[in-house]
Chain length 361, copies 2
């Protein structure tokens, strides 16, 4: 996920990945999460922080601590396969942390894919799962094609719609590239994420056209009055809305969970009732379809062709994930940055639970 | 597929669907297609013509007649399951008409989905398959969720790219809605289809911003100099390019077929060498995941919520397919319109093969 977006200025405070991982794990454990929840929660957040998707990284830790404490999320959930038919399964998340439940479901999908060539798993009674790309990546790192999607509370209008309807309903696909980091595509089906609106607001900048709407659904570039997002596609927003619908159908209808307009907001008055989120993951074993070498050669040829460009002046042609792996490389050397708000929240958590703050680089 | 696009003016010549279907079938048969090819070719074209996706409808008939005659497409192809592993298959299209091969592959995916809950089928040695939605629709009409995607010759630049790279690489998903026509979503991963550029050219109109580029890859609104399309998403075109990449990977890498930049153009000097197109279809049996009534209730609730709007002034909120079913209804009454160019091509075909022209309404 990359966005043509300005970045917030400020002191560049950085911590080594290992210190940040240890802090996330300790904080989740301190609030009562079991080992599997602390480990997967940490893993999903670090996936995003490592590659620069900071909106879905460790800044979620204070939220996860809060919802485990308030009872919305079960920190000791035991996800189970509630139903298994052939190459499919329905996973019951036991109201666990989205990361715990979704890694469990993707592991199941991968197991099914190894046996049947494909595994499709719908997920019920889950919660916020951070970046969908974490789970697509999980499959890709094991040599499979992975897909992950989910729905979430209403924030995106329909095409020509005047109210918040879909969530940002992400779709992520990860594909193994032999000898390299995966091809990793992770997109929101909205034109932009809502935290971009917050960012433009705080920077006093105008939004790009056709990405957000005011309370009446009319397009606005004024970040201060924008209260909903446009679906991806601008004048062709029926495409983004349709993609959001695919996420919705796979996540809610294959599970009996809530559709976006029925989902409790991520932050609201009620922080203790489980949100009953659905989600969907799918894994494909390339070698079921063709010789592995045929698959690997085609992927390599494709990725190489993408990177060959050429680009327009000032532009750069990248394969999905390329920007992320460059960030990962830089952050491995220089550490992962913490924004001031997250740093303050971490200090509160550290004080409350008697934890050491993560070391700085 | 709906587009905020002006329509070409002209005499409104209409034919009843049945007459048009009979003409397509007869023309394909006359040029040597076997019954299965004539029937499926006709069915795919009529799917699009019936619902107003005229770019992928019967205007393709002269092209299909030509490529069967020239040998690029095998009009008597015998598609086979070249490989079957668990819930997956690789279909070999025997260089047949895309419609013949893709209906065959979707039938296989549906059979696998009934046995395993999901069926994933990659397709090799196929050809142009008209609208991807035809095959998604085929699954939805049988009560399954269907997905169809394919890649095609280069016409869409990459995000910030300066040359034609991906094809318009469509993604279509069809979902059964109990007691109604399906939820049917069929999108190109380009900002617009290229025939829109032709249309704007002939109307002397300016293109919308950020949908097409000139020979150097720079965005242009001048339809006369536009020679490539932008990926869906404008400033966020990495999303459209990534979606095109998903189509590319499923179609080419799971089959060993060509990536977009390697595919012979649809119209070019060489009309006799098979194009070796790949494609990919997937079917899901909802009842494998949840009770059918849970699925049906959720879909109905979702579709109803979409249609409730509200819309912005002058807008209208539709579920994917709604506009198409309205067109279908109108065309059932008033007939299917034929543009002057297609009418002329039909007259040539009728004269050559001694066929009666389809009756007019």
């Amino acid at each position: 996920m990359t966005d043509p977006t300005p970045t917030r200025q400020g002191a560049d405070i950085r911590t080594p990945e290992s210190a940040l991982a240890a802090f996330c794990h300790a904080a989740l454990s301190a609030v009562g999460a079991d080992e599997a929840t602390a480990e997967t929660g940490m893993r999903a957040m670090l996936h995003a922080s490592r590659i620069g998707v900071d909106s879905h990284g460790v800044r979620l830790l204070p939220h996860y601590v809060r919802v485990i404490e308030s009872g919305r999320v079960n920190g000791r959930a035991v996800p189970t396969v509630a139903r298994n038919f052939g190459a499919t399964a329905l996973v019951d998340g036991d109201h666990g942390l989205g990361a715990r439940v979704t890694y469990f479901a993707m592991d199941k999908a991968m197991e099914l894919a190894r046996t049947h060539g494909v595994g499709a798993v719908s997920i019920r009674r889950s919660s916020h799962f951070a970046a969908a790309g974490a789970y697509a990546m999980h499959a890709a790192e094991a040599g499979l094609i992975g897909l992950c999607t989910g729905n979430s509370d209403s924030i995106v209008r329909l095409h020509e719609g005047a109210k918040r309807f879909h969530g940002t309903n992400p779709i992520a696909v990860g594909v193994p590239v032999e000898g390299e980091r995966p091809w990793l595509f992770d997109m929101a089906t909205s034109a932009i994420p809502f935290n971009r609106v917050h960012l433009y607001r705080s920077l006093g900048m105008e939004l790009p056209p056709e990405v957000a709407s005011d309370a009446d659904g009319n397009p606005t570039t004024d970040a201060a009055t924008a209260i909903m997002l446009a679906p991806l596609g601008g004048a062709y927003g029926y495409k983004g809305a349709g993609l959001a619908g695919v996420a919705e159908i796979l996540s809610a209808a294959l599970t009996g969970m809530r559709i976006s307009v029925e989902i409790l907001p991520m932050i609201g008055e009620d922080m203790s009732t489980p949100r009953e989120l659905g989600a969907f993951v799918l894994a494909l074993e390339p070698a079921a379809f063709v010789e592995r070498s045929v698959f690997d050669d085609t992927i390599r040829r494709y990725v190489r062709a993408v990177r060959e460009g050429p680009a327009i002046p000032g532009g750069k042609v990248l394969a999905p994930g390329d920007r992320e792996w460059a960030v990962e490389e830089e952050r491995r050397r220089a550490g992962i940055p913490l924004d001031p708000e997250t740093l303050t929240a971490f200090e509160t958590i550290a004080a409350r639970f008697g934890l050491d703050m993560p070391a700085r680089c």
